[in-house]
């Protein structure tokens, strides 16, 4: 062994260097430990090496793209916990069926996110999370009430945390409204009148873009807004169909008259789902559209919109009903853990991370890649955050206001069948069927469904 002779100065330098290295190592460990607990995660990586399977769709949604990257291989989440998540990318149109089949036949997935109205059919296959929520002191009051309702099962157990949620928003062409000096309508009746004015003064442009096509229940979104605003409902408290009441008929007549009588929308709307209907505004063929708030980031993406539409779209809360109320549908994607998952604890860490307000704020504020920009955030504190609003033109705050009165679709296990009856019936009415007789027939069909399911005799 070669002995290195050091003088005093050199020895002092070596000690100082080693000391500095030690301090840096300690502080790095402390930063890591702080980050894990900062997000409410367990420190020490107790589930290191776990690979979670997450059943979800639509990885083109900006929020999902970013979160998939943040929880995959070599991600921040993996560095904090040692866990990686593999995001499935089932097409939206097939996701409901896949979740139902997976839930009822014993799933190979650990974690799943679902659209609220689908959940009742399989919530009994999801792990109750109340004890975990309490242990980790998650503030449930920071979520809209409708989000919690949709995430709770029939016994009152919370089986999912709100993950991705949307209020309905009225998007409009700012330049058209400025040119014609039009006020922003706050009721559906106002929307119809405004649309007629726009069409009269701007031939070739549809006043409003709508969707009446049979496509995963998407033609129900605006209909429920009118139905609830007018004082009607889909099911009553004992789960009987009541959407053929006088108020419901009036609301439905208004809804279908937009295409049949008022003609303020593209005649091809009878075949439109959400993609086609949003394209009407994105490509400059319509002046208004009622849709989910997350579309706002599309209107700022030069690759997604026509030049005339780029950065030229304003927004306002979705309209209410003149003489009634403003009560729109709030769509929520709860995220939960399958009962038979072998990685329930790791799955809970994953859920805590992706629903954490700080993580969601970071995602919602990130506009570095326009195609990945997404203003979606599920907590009121996140929606009212100044940085998130600055990055998203103030739409989160508008959404927060709308969500205070929003509600969710009926939480019944027969919703898939009921939805089918409703969307087919609405499509038939949009293509010419009489409203009252069609609603009555639909009510009889739904009544038979509810009886078969044992809701009543």
């Amino acid at each position: 062994m070669v002995k290195v002779k050091m003088n005093t100065r050199q020895r002092a330098g070596a000690v100082l260097g080693l000391g500095l290295l030690g301090v840096m190592a300690l502080s790095t460990m402390q930063v890591q430990a702080q980050s894990a607990s900062y997000y409410g995660l367990k420190s020490g990586k107790p589930y290191n090496g776990t690979k979670l399977k997450f059943l979800i769709c639509c990885l083109t949604a900006g929020q999902f793209t970013q979160l998939a990257r943040m929880t995959g291989e070599n991600s921040e989440f993996q560095k904090l916990t040692g866990i990686t998540a593999q995001w499935e990318n089932t097409p939206y149109e097939g996701l409901q069926q896949k979740i139902l089949v997976e839930a009822t036949t014993g799933s190979t997935y650990d974690v799943v996110a679902w659209v609220d109205s689908w959940g009742e059919a399989f919530k009994n296959q999801m792990l109750p999370l109340d004890a975990r929520i309490k242990a980790d002191k998650i503030n449930m009051k920071d979520y809209p009430k409708s989000y919690i309702t949709a995430s709770t099962d029939a016994s009152g157990n919370v089986v999912g945390l709100p993950f991705r949620g949307h209020p309905l928003v009225l998007f409009y062409r700012k330049d058209v409204f400025n040119e014609l000096k039009l006020p922003i309508p706050t009721t559906w009746q106002g929307v119809i009148q405004t649309a007629k004015t726009i069409q009269a003064k701007k031939p070739g442009m549809a006043g409003l873009s709508t969707m009446y096509g049979v496509n995963a229940g998407q033609n129900l979104f605006s209909w429920t807004s009118m139905l609830w605003g007018a004082g009607g409902d889909i099911l009553d408290k004992s789960n009987h169909p009541v959407f053929n009441s006088d108020k419901a008929v009036q609301a439905t007549q208004t809804y279908v008259d937009m295409i049949r009588k008022d003609k303020i929308t593209n005649p091809a709307s009878t075949t439109f789902g959400e993609p086609e209907s949003s394209s009407e505004l994105l490509q400059g063929r319509a002046a208004m559209w009622v849709g989910w708030w997350w579309y706002w980031s599309r209107f700022a993406d030069p690759k997604a919109v026509a030049p005339a539409v780029l950065n030229n779209v304003g927004f306002a809360p979705a309209p209410g009903w003149k003489g009634g109320t403003t009560q729109n549908y709030a769509l929520i994607w709860p995220i939960g853990i399958f009962k038979n998952s072998k990685h329930a604890d790791a799955g809970w860490e994953f859920i805590k991370y992706v629903t954490n307000t700080e993580v969601q704020k970071r995602v919602a504020s990130n506009r570095t890649v326009p195609a990945e920009a997404d203003n979606t955030i599920v907590t009121f504190s996140g929606m009212n955050d100044p940085k998130v609003n600055a990055a998203n033109g103030g739409i989160p705050k508008v959404g927060a206001a709308a969500l205070r009165t929003a509600r969710t679709l009926p939480q019944v296990k027969t919703w898939a069948e009921i939805q089918s009856v409703l969307e087919v019936g609405i499509n038939q009415m949009a293509t010419g069927a009489e409203v009252k007789p069609t609603l009555d027939r639909m009510a009889r069909d739904v009544d038979a469904i509810q009886k078969r399911a044992g809701y009543y005799k």
């Binding site: 059919a121 005649p267 898939a416 499509n427 038939q428």
Partner: protein, 320 residues
Amino acid sequence: MDLPQTSKLSPDLPAAAPLRSGPAAARKPWKPQSTRLRWVMLGPAMLVIAATVLYPLASSFVTSFRDWRLTNSPLPGPFVGFANYARAFTDTAFINSLGVSALYMLLSVSLTLIIGLGIAMLLSKPTKLNVLTRTLLIFPFAVAPVLKGYSWKFMLNPEYGVYAKMIGDVFHPLRGYIWLGHEFSALCAIAMSEVWGWAPLFALMFIGALGSIPGETTEAAKVDGATSFQIFRKITLPLLAPVIYIVALLKIISAFKMFDQVSIMTGGGPGDSTQTLYFNVFQTAFRNLDMGYASALSYLLVALMGVIATFYVRTLLKGS
């Protein structure tokens, strides 16, 4: 001239000739002599067939007599006898889908036969161009039904669809027509997307059949002063009748299985005007999760297809 009877054994040879050694024996394919050995060798394949075909068939048949909704329980429910089958005959959705499938079948089979026969007549002469064109005829059939559905949905779009534009330019009243937004035209659009794939295949079959029609018969008819149409009606069509009958039956069976284009192009709409039988069964099973009723509907479909398949097989056997 007598041809050597190579297809028959020489009467001088014994019924079971003894094995010979050497190169001749190496050319003969080996057959297991023992019956038990044959069963042992067939065993794995039969197990796979039993597991993947017979068991699901039997299981779904038993399920069709149960009340089993996955939203209630992941385990099969109680036996309810023929209640599921009886329900089908009062279920407006099923009766509607029966009508839709029947109408779709009539449209697609007749159009496929007519267009296929037309293509065959055009390409029946053995010119170089015709031979080259015939090789391209198989491509539409090779396209996946889902792709056909998406392509036709885009091509019929009233705003930017190429077919919609072409039809609108030729027939002005149809300019901007919403092909998938009206009940009958939506069904026709789905039928045409299927005809596009099948007609060329049928044309190939008809070309083969046309080639077997003796040339002397048509020449004799021409000498007697028959027009082309008369020759087609009184000679060609009757001689093609057996082939037309067989391909029609084949197409009928295929028509009742229509699902992909319905799912992609219309989702069963407008309303429920394109909800075919298969689509209805799929919705019942995988959207409503009513497995008992869906199984019963499937077996009603099997019964219907069985009747058609019986005609098909009897015709084939008669022909051979």
